[in-house]
Symmetry: C2
Subunit: 248 residues, 2 copies
Amino acid sequence: MTYLLVTNDDGVYAPGIRALHDAVRHLGKAVIIAPERDKSAVSHSLTMNRPLHVRKLEPDVYTLDGTPTDCVTIGMNKVLPVKPDLLVSGINPGPNLGDDISYSGTVSAAIEGTMYGIPSLAFSLAGEPPYDFETAAGVAWKLASMAMQFGLPENTLLNINIPQLKPEEIRGIRFTRQGRRIYKNAIQETYDPWGRKHYWIGGGTVHWSGGEETDDQALQEGFISVTPIQLDLTNHAGRGFLQENWKM
Amino acid sequence: MTYLLVTNDDGVYAPGIRALHDAVRHLGKAVIIAPERDKSAVSHSLTMNRPLHVRKLEPDVYTLDGTPTDCVTIGMNKVLPVKPDLLVSGINPGPNLGDDISYSGTVSAAIEGTMYGIPSLAFSLAGEPPYDFETAAGVAWKLASMAMQFGLPENTLLNINIPQLKPEEIRGIRFTRQGRRIYKNAIQETYDPWGRKHYWIGGGTVHWSGGEETDDQALQEGFISVTPIQLDLTNHAGRGFLQENWKM
């Protein structure tokens, strides 16, 4: 029997994960294991300072008082009877592009799955509210079935961003590279009731760079962006730079 | 004037950051901006759902009610008068090797610095308690000064692990690649006072793989491990795999 683990970082009640679950349940036994609450921007956090509790909400839907990474670890080791054949994470409302990938709980769940050798896909809907997950869910079904049919590069997950367009407006799929995202003035100043200055991170203007063949560019041109993301973070060319330039 | 930003994930009162601060303060104006509390394993979390408050504890020592990533963003934009010339993170008590890098707050602070174009080094003391940071602090001073003198590869930070040995026992420096870390049975089962089963992530046995030239191997042989870690997570060869194998 084919098993799929379905998770996200927005919590088990988010419409994006329900749309994803509905889309992939025809590919096998698809089980949701997702955080109780919104865990956006928790990145690859793992909860080790307290025990975690799994609750079954309905058939094939479980929730956990932890992070997306916790959900993957406990889901595959304790909830599912076997190691799943595929992990799908999302659908995140809003894009996960460029440098933002390293903050993303949606992507982190797929990193964790990949560490365990599970082919893993992270899905994001690149658009603005109000979000409509219908087209993206159809794309997710198609890409999940292709991942099962054709496989993934070794030790690699797919970070998938789908433009919020009608199906006939989407121009196709591009296999992209990760762009860079640069924020300007992304810290607001505010004051508490006692007049003390506080800083609030967020907002600001996004300045992109990276150019050709990036995730961002594909979306701007109406394509689905599929970026293969590897676990190995080593800058292999950088090792040569250090060996040559650093005089001991 | 040369500025250094000093941060960590264990909190401003941790002995490791004080040892690091003492070591690098001779290289320029070294300012600590660190979390109030232990933020280990928060990975690259960014706090965006509430304002953050900076407190000055003593000259050149600031603390923030947030994560290591928050400290870097707010430290360089709001606390320091200029963009720092170097960021140093740590010294973490215990190693940051292989797959664990992606969970590490120590390393995440250096990733954030690198995103802003600041040469960034993450330091960990690879040993067991009781930790003695003296030798590691001397190594940190030396490597920080070399980073300022010889530079780093572009868009790349250094993940540095120092064995807990006497200076004369350390065999030298190796420029390594990231290994893999595989845990077995790393989830304990426990029960709450009402008899409900809970899971507690942690413990278990560590199984390594990766072999030659890895961070782990260097440490086992008594070397300091210096791994260049890049921001670009794209598996560029993987793009070719997908283009060839995925039939649309």
